[in-house]
Symmetry: C2
Subunit: 347 residues, 2 copies
Amino acid sequence: MRATVIHAPHDIRIEEVPDAAVREPTDAVVRTVLACICGSDLWAYRGVASRQPGQRIGHEFLGVVEAVGAAVTGFRPGDLVVAPFVWSDGVCEFCVEGLQTSCPHGGFWGTPGSDGGQGEAVRVPFADGTLVQLPKEAASDQHLLTALLALSDVMSTGHHAALAAGVRPGATVAVVGDGAVGLCGVLAARRLGADRIIALGRHEDRTAIARKFGATDVVPARGEEAVAAVRELTGGSGAHAVLEAVGTEESMRTAISIARDGGAVGYVGVPHGGSAGVDISQMFDRNVAVCGGVAPARAYIPELLADVLSGRIDPSPVFDATVDLDGVPDGYRAMDERTALKVKITF
Amino acid sequence: MRATVIHAPHDIRIEEVPDAAVREPTDAVVRTVLACICGSDLWAYRGVASRQPGQRIGHEFLGVVEAVGAAVTGFRPGDLVVAPFVWSDGVCEFCVEGLQTSCPHGGFWGTPGSDGGQGEAVRVPFADGTLVQLPKEAASDQHLLTALLALSDVMSTGHHAALAAGVRPGATVAVVGDGAVGLCGVLAARRLGADRIIALGRHEDRTAIARKFGATDVVPARGEEAVAAVRELTGGSGAHAVLEAVGTEESMRTAISIARDGGAVGYVGVPHGGSAGVDISQMFDRNVAVCGGVAPARAYIPELLADVLSGRIDPSPVFDATVDLDGVPDGYRAMDERTALKVKITF
């Protein structure tokens, strides 16, 4: 089969790789229908996060079950399924609690020895614990399929940020970052009943989506200027809940600074700035909490899926470009150069 | 009147100062009955936290109301009262929400222009918003008074740490720090229904109090060794809730490392190590939250007071030495040299 392989920073290739196959009785093989490129894939693309040369890449996909191992009971060939961005066994104490990202048998698509999501098929370990069933009818509805693809990571991650930040009905929320996760964070905050949602972002095409998703205010500034703008919009107090969806030192510093005293930053941006953005003295004096981390998408997909199917939320606008498998290197380039927000891959 | 004054690191003096007096209609004057020395006073004593030469010091006291301003409605001369370690107006949005430490009219005892708690009397701004009434009968019960004095800071702060860390019935809790706040954190965790409480501390007289307060396990190690010990005690998982009551880089690092995935560190140790102890990458991968800060003691005193009066909790064992006002410099020395845990001041 063919799949996306990363050889070095900026060196993404589509190559022939061994066919995905059932190896363990708990495995399934999923033939990919849709996949996409993540903002966090760019950390590898840019060489900020290291990868072994020749490693697979991609962690968001949905598709059709092609084969299952003897121990798989919840799925059978022909099922339409979406995968969260990590696999998990579904039975350990963490999985039972809904923190599947801490499953001791879990793993991240594309790590050495596993298939990545940006390929024609994927061997899915612990299929029963990992995959979520989608209605078969969705297969013929490209718009709906696109919305469902967002559950794999960005919509679930935005939801995690909103939960971690403690978004409640009536809350004032600020969202740092206008990437796909930040935008989904806006949508999640609205879904959780936020009254006012301030989106921080400077790309007008993106903030337009933020407004469509429920942002009531847009702050195009950065750093100190952004802090001042959010303070002014909130009568000096700051936001009850701040979603940090970037992962840099500056964004974390901004997020903490615009939180209202007693509030929380829900951070989901993969941290690449050490801890320097975390100003513990400022947090201490104002009782600002820093919560969040890697989103247990598997825990959230069922409830978010219901809302996508009912039409209550539609995250599909975060995908603004589409490529086929051969176009994936171009897709990375477009996202790296910010000419695309999030690139969908069709098979 | 006479009060404690700090002139320079290690230079604490008892001096004649202007009498405390009602200046604003919302003021009260409280004649001090009991006060004490806080672990956080040692930061000033050691020169780690700067003070203006000649500044007053001390932020924990209870006493008898001597005079009230015309606008004070909740107190009158003769009332026995305890003060939280910050004053607050009681009417702003933060006070109403129970985050009195963020009151825009609030302040910390001993800041320039205000009286400190380690003096014969204290001018209390916003008496109605700040003070809490105690039963008059307590005045004749030295043991009870001592327990009530702990509400001013250490017991309320330990409770804040436990709340911030999300202590729930049945939880496994770890407490980093065997100072008075850490010990009160043990007591607060037990009060909130923790099932297992692991106290980290190496001073046997202190860990004996921890056991009396409800600690089920004691870990005398530090750093990596402590992390390994807590992991072993918890089947490898760590503690659901970790109370960080030290405020150094090492203690924060330890606290994060011993938290169970998905758990939280409730930190109340005044931070003096920058943000270096906050390992955001470790927090991210394991969804460990860092919550807490300066405790809104005023919010907690009423409920904790009820439990002290009923005998359900007794934090008095954290006081292991007593001095009179003239003995305060010796009290600082004893705490600095760790020959005393927490020094009570009688008047």
